[in-house]
């Protein structure tokens, strides 16, 4: 006879079903929580992207110490209601239109209902490792949402130090090139010609190490001067060509500095047995070499003038990328001129920074922050020198080389036949 299920069996069966269903419900509940957490994670990633872009925008051309000083904080700052410098203003929502002005325009506030609900609970902090002046720094961007979930973004930021590149190593002047300048009529190798004349080969090579690069630079400069004449109708092209003339003077002066230094310290006679008509050539090259420092400053100032003229031709209308690049280039050139010749360039540099500060007010937070730092750095010549220590050191080196070339010219006047 068939027996029905006992009450105990029904209870056991129902318990098993209940446990299974409740477990599934729990799993789904956890899934729902995970979806919420995933949404927060996506929001954090989007916010971090904005953080990083703003940080990079602000970092252009600046020293990392100063940049990060303005961004780092000990504690987490709320992103909502302009609580964090990175989110001081979000959108242009009030006149004057076309300028983002903290306090006047919209921050991440309650009026952005959905965005505020989703992102308003976040707080952010930027921290960095001890700053390495080599041009990169480890930065950690941390965001926490309203439920204290933390999202960390470690990154490495590179900084442009605006220092000019080291001049490329100049190949040692070939003996044949030196012989062509000092012993133009002979077919003998340099060492034999020097030995026959009773001269010192090392000193002769050092003199050649000065004369050969100076002559090459003079030829290149003549070609650039011709191009500058051709480019006179195109201000930007003219500025670029003149800038290259300045760079040429800079690198030529620095590249001959080691040989000039050795000649300055040597006590032996310079060269012997050179032809009388070589003397004006040698003296002419050295005279040009002694003027390289002044030529560098003159060309830099000329390039600055051409860039300014090109910028004035554009006017103060739309801030295009080209205008931004041009403004930055003028700022760089003005700093160099102010550094080399404060009496000529410092006034203009300050005026230019003031002009840019007004032009970019509310039109690029990164550029604004950059200009605020530039204004502090350009307050006086000492601070400007401290801002560009390598340029200042190289400039001193260039000036010393020019002075040494001037002394060498006097020595050649005495010692050359």
């Amino acid at each position: 006879m068939r027996r029905g299920a006992s009450l105990l069996e029904v209870l056991i069966g129902l318990s098993i079903v209940s446990v299974a269903v409740i477990s599934m419900a729990g799993a789904m509940r956890q899934g729902a929580r995970d979806v919420g957490s995933s949404a927060q994670h996506m929001a954090a990633a989007a916010l971090e992207q904005r953080f990083v872009e703003a940080l990079m925008q602000s970092s252009q051309g600046d020293d990392s110490d100063a940049l990060l000083d303005g961004w780092t904080s000990e504690r987490l700052l709320p992103l909502a209601d302009a609580g964090h410098p990175c989110f001081a203003v979000l959108e242009d929502s009030a006149p004057p239109w076309g300028r983002l002005e903290p306090g006047r325009d919209r921050a991440l506030g309650v009026e952005l209902t959905e965005t505020y609900r989703h992102y308003g609970g976040f707080a952010g902090r930027v921290a960095h490792a001890p700053v390495d002046r080599g041009g990169a720094v480890d930065v950690d961007v941390r965001l926490e949402d309203g439920d204290r979930h933390a999202f960390d973004l470690p990154l490495v930021l590179g900084f442009s130090t605006e220092e000019p590149p080291e001049p490329p190593p100049v190949p040692e002047a070939l003996d044949s090139e030196i012989a062509a300048i000092l012993y133009p009529d002979g077919s003998e190798p340099l060492d034999r010609a020097v030995r026959r004349a009773g001269g010192d080969l090392a000193i002769t090579r050092d003199l050649g190490g000065v004369l050969v690069p100076l002559r090459a630079a003079a030829l290149a400069d003549a070609a650039l001067a011709a191009r500058a004449v051709e480019a006179s109708g195109d201000l930007l092209e003219l500025a670029r060509v003149v800038e290259r003339r300045a760079a040429l003077a800079w690198s030529a002066g620095l590249s001959v500095a080691p040989c000039v230094g050795r000649l300055e310290r040597s006590t032996g006679r310079l060269v012997r047995g050179v032809r009388v008509d070589v003397r004006p050539v040698v003296l002419g090259e050295l005279r040009r070499g002694a003027a390289l420092g002044e030529r560098f400053v003159a060309h830099a100032a000329e390039a600055l003038g051409a860039y300014r003229a090109a910028r004035e031709a554009v006017g103060v209308g739309g801030l295009t990328l080209r205008v931004l690049h041009l403004d930055r280039r003028i700022l760089d050139a003005a700093e160099i001129v102010a550094l080399c010749a404060p009496e000529r360039g410092h006034g203009f540099l300050q005026a230019w920074i003031a002009f840019l500060a007004e032009t970019y007010r509310g039109r690029g937070p990164g550029m604004e922050a950059h200009l605020a730092r530039e204004r502090a750095w350009s307050a006086d010549a000492d601070r400007l020198t401290a801002r560009h220590p390598r340029v200042a050191a190289r400039l001193a080196e260039l000036r010393a080389a020019c002075a040494a070339m001037s002394a060498l010219e006097a020595r050649c006047t005495r010692e050359l036949p």
């Binding site: 009450l7 029904v10 209870l11 129902l14 318990s15 079903v17 209940s18 269903v21 409740i22 599934m24 419900a25 789904m28 509940r29 899934g31 729902a32 979806v35 919420g36 949404a39 996506m42 929001a43 989007a46 916010l47 992207q49 904005r50 872009e53 703003a54 990079m56 925008q57 979000l90 959108e91 242009d92 929502s93 239109w97 076309g98 300028r99 983002l100 991440l108 952005l112 959905e114 965005t115 609900r117 989703h118 992102y119 930007l236 670029r240 801030l319 295009t320 990328l321 080209r322 205008v323 931004l324 690049h325 041009l326 280039r329 509310g362 039109r363 690029g364 937070p365 990164g366 550029m367």
Partner: protein, 170 residues
């Protein structure tokens, strides 16, 4: 006669209450799961997925650019125009349809004889769009995605035109 004993009323009551409790738990679990699946979780997952995919597509399009032409620096508009290295213009704009607002992309070839690409719908339902140029090569994007059930997912980020250095003065 059978030796089997009848169930006492108290036992029956206890058993009935246990069954009722377990049944109630089971039913509430199933109901919650169904509600979560139909009205909350799945649409959010779907919306997040769409947001990720669409944002990745927008980033890829914008990163290819050189310069943000519109909005001008420091301004906010509900559309953008970005120029790329081939002088193509990428337009992103909201469009009103019967179903609501959607967000579209359109690439215009400005070279002589160039051909425009057709309109491409990036998001089918959006609310509250705002693009702000933080720099000539940096665009802040804020918009809220929506689905048929009314679930919303706001996006706030910034995208840089990675080719902006192409305009640098050599």
């Amino acid at each position: 006669m059978s030796a089997r004993r009848a169930v006492a009323v108290l036992e029956l009551l206890i058993a009935a209450s246990l069954v009722a409790t377990l049944f109630a738990l089971t039913v509430s679990g199933i109901t919650w799961s169904r509600r979560a699946a139909s009205s909350g979780v799945m649409p959010k997952v779907e919306l997040q997925y769409q947001a990720r995919a669409a944002l990745a597509a927008l980033v890829a399009e914008l990163e290819d650019g050189i310069e943000v032409v519109r909005p001008p620096c420091g301004a906010t508009l509900d559309y953008f125009v970005v120029r790329d290295g081939r002088n193509h213009l990428l337009l992103g704009y909201p469009e009103q349809t019967r179903q609501g607002r959607r967000f579209c992309l359109f690439r215009r070839d400005t070279s002589p004889g160039g051909r425009d690409t057709g309109q491409r719908v990036l998001w089918s339902r959006i609310q509250d769009v705002a693009f702000t140029a933080l720099a000539p090569d940096l665009l802040q994007v804020r918009l809220t995605l929506e689905d048929e059930s009314g679930a919303r997912f706001p996006v706030l980020t910034a995208i840089r035109c990675r080719n902006s250095s192409a305009e640098a003065i050599p």
